[in-house]
Symmetry: C2
Subunit: 286 residues, 2 copies
């Protein structure tokens, strides 16, 4: 399988390492946002779209229209269905497969949530994120006047409630109390317990560690108190890149079977994510 990468930031570099480690893949090129897409070689099976999330649809649409399978980690939960709908039409018309929102949340966490719902259809699932950096909240904090650099950490408090720890470097002459008030009033932070802390260097806090604690207490049949928990502590871009690469394998297999279209991870068969024959995988994993 010839797998290429579009975008070479944190996730693109992690995806590169995962492609190189895969026994059944060959790295077919690394492209940048501003390369002309028509220059992309024609012999690519799957393109990993590692651009900023808001640029995913534009690139994936062009590639899918050329019959090239794509995988992205589009992570705006409220817009996933509309991305899927738009890309699905392009894929169906051009016999390609696009796997969307293939990271860890959305992504592998979504598969766990679906499985737990199948195991206990009634009940509550809570997804508790972190401790780890929130990209969205970090960007929101950086946009506040007087903030030179910022890092917003997500701290899980249980039952899906999160604390925001916002570390900021102030611009010269900025007033901490004024900046703090502006952050606390921002819609990104106004609804959560938020603490703002001034630091000398945000760069010194840089760490791509993240995690999740996903819990469900539900009912199987008529039996209550069925308890499930999924935990992980991970390097965030490394996991995202690896999930994308495993999904590239699934995209290729689906294309070979003529199963064209855009899919989320809960629409994939776990076995398609893995290298090796069905016999070897079933004997090892089932």
């Amino acid at each position: 399988m010839k797998v290429a990468i579009l975008g070479h930031g944190n996730i693109g570099r992690a995806a590169e390492a995962a492609v190189k480690a895969a026994p059944d893949m060959e790295l077919a090129g690394i492209y940048h946002h501003d390369d002309c897409l028509s220059c992309i070689a024609g012999n690519i099976d799957v393109m990993l779209v590692c651009t900023p999330t808001r640029e995913v649809q534009k690139f994936a649409t062009v590639l899918a229209a050329r019959g090239i399978c794509t995988v992205d980690s589009f992570d705006i939960h409220g817009q996933i269905w509309s991305l899927r709908t738009a890309l699905d039409a392009v894929c169906q018309a051009n016999q390609s497969v696009s796997i969307i929102s293939a990271g860890w949340d959305p992504g592998s966490d979504s598969m766990v949530r679906a499985l737990l719902m199948a195991m206990a259809p009634n009940g509550l699932t809570y997804t508790n994120f972190g401790p780890g950096r929130s990209m969205g909240h970090t960007v929101a904090a950086k946009a506040i006047p007087g903030v030179k650099n910022a890092l917003s950490m997500t701290i899980p408090l249980g039952t899906g409630i999160h604390r925001r720890m916002v570390y900021i470097e102030l611009e010269e002459g900025a007033d901490f109390k004024t900046v703090e008030a502006a952050i606390l009033a921002d819609d990104y932070f106004a609804h959560d317990e938020t603490h703002v802390i001034a630091v000398e260097s945000v760069e010194a806090l840089n760490n791509v560690a993240h995690g999740v604690n996903l819990v469900r207490n539900g009912v199987s049949g008529e039996t209550h108190n069925q308890r499930f928990e999924f935990n992980m502590t991970i390097n965030n871009p490394a996991l995202t890149g690896q999930v994308m690469v495993s999904c590239a394998r699934a995209a290729m297999r689906m294309k070979e079977r003529g199963e064209f279209g855009a899919k989320t991870m809960i629409e994939l068969r776990p076995i398609d994510l893995l290298p090796g024959t069905k016999e070897i995988l079933i004997k090892a994993l089932v």
Copy 2:
């Protein structure tokens, strides 16, 4: 969907409750091992085969040959591939779908193991069972001369190592030390730390609680120390019955799409396990 049940023990009764709780299913009959299979009504979409595991192949083969989809929770790990191979041919020839080994291990745990391997391809996974009753070990202990009744509990010690706690009621006149030595020498127990305890009443210990602690520490791309953990504490037959019922839904959908054959759970799409439209499920879970 018309779903029927063959076998009405612990798992059959739990499956009955799960069918009745499913919004998209109708209970189409409960059959017993010794009913003549040719008397089974022709309008069944899926039969849940809740017989003892060694009788699964016989019944599933007859049903699949009549074009009726089946789901079983066949749990002899070393024989799953051969069951799949045999049933697959019958299903392909008769346009039916059989989902095999659809419990929690093998079953939902298998899906988690596959997903974790896709997230961190190199590394070790340990599946730690219990505390809970082991059916196989309980049967082995009951077969020892001098044992009137027995219960073998599986206690997880980590890294896939388990302790066996064997509670026995002695036959009148039986010598505890002799019975204990026979249990410890039995191949089921000789390889694990095993404790034999005489009790007045094994029935008084009856409890269908079980659990699992499934851990993986692996490598995503070139990044080590990616840590994952899946825990559950559950009513064992209730979960097994529920998983079978969710898989009945997947079998029906696969049959409607013309995807005939015998499949294990790692070959299923999680979304197919759940009632509702793709749009509702993707918006809720991804």
